[in-house]
């Protein structure tokens, strides 16, 4: 173990840019996926323009098709607002947007602070712990009860599902595991429709969108996304931040001394980690991006992770510059479908950094296994399968 620590001392919190060469030379990469290939767009400007152009690059295709790897064979249900295009998209967004802005309220932030402080105090009593399962998953699940406004104890169920509830270790597409979530949601939606409360289920069940009452199927389509979209992403962001501070103790001290940079530090860590690598769109006409021809009814993906390292826009893109002042990253997407959970995720990370800076002076990595995604020719580190640390 000692030698691993020495060799890896500066490496574990490093997230290399897997796309640099292809981004500079061509601007795109190609991956095969179940005979429905995807052209990954790698430059920031192309990613933004394409995300903005929802008419030629749609999200409202066959359910599951804009996800890579494609989920068309494992689900029929449409995720809302994620797989809906304007103008309907806006009706759904307008409905849920105020709810997802609640993290800006002081009371909400207090609840999150209590959740996070308790968890840090809990792991501080241990000699060592595994971050992904024993910290990040718990934090993500407990914080989600605040976002949905459901009882805290629901988080115990979600934690028991484990890290791989929607994605199994060996096969990326495990229909059986997704069913755990679908069955759970059916049950909760039934409960809320019999006994409406002040949770997100009840809000959606009573909602009227474009003159039509939302169906249970649609409510489920929204709820799936708040579970699935906010799970791995938050877990990776939290875990990777801890790995970063383990290897950069001075950054944690700096946040304690200059709390006013916390917001910028969050944006920079989120830029650097890009917890969601890319997301697809289906093309509705023959077109081109960065002088590359793209065929009607094929797929492109918007590679947020690559765009965030584009040296045409970012100085020292491969460095974490904790107080980066201008930081137009796309980790939370861009334009129409930008992340609905971003306000919640940002608050979690802001409070996490503040509490770590208050309570923890030193983090030591004992052991770690990286999580490397394979996208055609690209191997991208997105986080850790597991990482054991001690807090002091």
């Amino acid at each position: 173990m000692e030698h691993l620590k020495e060799d890896k001392k500066t490496k574990l919190s490093e997230f290399p840019d897997a796309f640099e060469q292809a981004r500079i030379e061509k601007g795109y990469g190609e991956i095969d996926d179940q005979n429905d290939p995807v052209t990954m767009l790698l430059r920031l400007k192309d990613v933004r323009k394409t995300a903005h152009n929802w008419k030629t690059f749609i999200s409202g295709a066959e359910p599951g098709r804009i996800v890579v790897p494609s989920e068309v064979h494992i689900r029929d249900i449409r995720q809302i607002p994620f797989e809906v295009d304007p103008p309907e998209h806006k009706s759904y967004r307008d409905l849920v947007e105020p709810w997802f802005k609640r993290p800006l309220e002081e009371g909400y932030q207090k609840v999150l602070k209590t959740i996070i402080d308790e968890l840090i105090d809990e792991v501080l009593t241990k000699d060592q712990f595994e971050v992904v399962g024993d910290f990040s998953l718990k934090l993500q699940s407990r914080a989600l009860t605040t976002l949905l406004n459901v009882p805290y104890k629901e988080s115990e169920t979600w934690i028991d599902w484990g890290v791989h509830v929607f994605r199994s270790e060996d096969t990326d597409l495990d229909g059986g595991k997704a069913n755990i979530l679908f069955d759970y949601l059916d049950e909760k939606i039934e409960e809320a429709s019999k006994n409406p409360g002040d949770d997100l289920y009840s809000l959606l069940l009573s909602a009227v969108v474009d003159g039509k009452k939302m169906t249970k199927e649609e409510v489920k389509g929204v709820m799936i996304l708040t579970f699935a979209g906010g799970r791995d992403t938050v877990i990776n962001a939290v875990t990777n931040s801890i790995a970063y501070f383990a290897e950069h103790p001075n950054s944690l001290k700096r946040i304690a001394q200059e709390p006013e940079i916390t917001g910028r530090a969050v944006e920079e860590l989120v830029r650097y980690f890009a917890p969601l690598t890319h997301m697809g769109r289906v093309v509705t006409e023959d077109t081109q991006v960065c002088e590359h021809a793209i065929k009607n009814d094929s797929r492109v993906s918007l590679c947020w992770a690559s765009a965030n390292r584009d040296s045409a826009v970012f100085e020292n893109p491969n460095e974490v510059v904790l107080d980066r002042k201008v930081n137009p990253h796309v980790s939370f997407g861009f334009s129409t479908h930008n992340c609905l959970g971003a306000t919640h995720a940002r608050q979690i990370l802001k409070i996490l950094l503040t509490s770590l800076a208050e309570k923890v002076s030193d983090i030591e990595i004992k052991d770690a296994k990286e999580n490397i995604e394979e996208w055609g020719e690209f191997n991208r580190k997105v986080g850790f399968k597991n990482i054991t640390v001690s807090f002091n």
Partner: protein, 102 residues
């Protein structure tokens, strides 16, 4: 000291005074509706979009290329659009009138 007027989408006029920081921060401190400042002012979220009243437009400098690139892909943007997290509160802004877009 600069006196800045925000006019929200529902035509409410809010006059605030500031000495330092960004215009976005000033708006958020004063609960100006429609300015959320989600990204804390690093030019990544566009939730601080304002349009400068043409009469006071000459009080402001040029937007940076990064800011212009963000605005270029905002459907509600016009020639008077700015992301107000990129505007520093200084004497020069005294009297400026900003229309909140969202």
């Amino acid at each position: 000291m600069a006196k800045i007027t925000f006019i929200t989408k529902d035509q409410e006029s809010i006059v605030v005074e500031g000495t330092a920081g960004s215009v976005m921060e000033l708006a958020v401190q004063n609960n100006v509706k429609g300015i959320d400042g989600d990204c804390g002012g690093v030019c990544s979220c566009a939730t601080c979009h304002v349009q400068v009243d043409p009469a006071s437009a000459d009080k402001l400098g040029e937007a940076s290329e990064i800011e212009q690139d963000m605005l270029e892909l905002d459907d509600d943007a016009n020639e008077y659009s700015r992301l107000c997290c990129q505007l520093q509160v200084t004497e020069a802004l005294d009297g400026v009138v900003l229309n909140v877009v969202k």
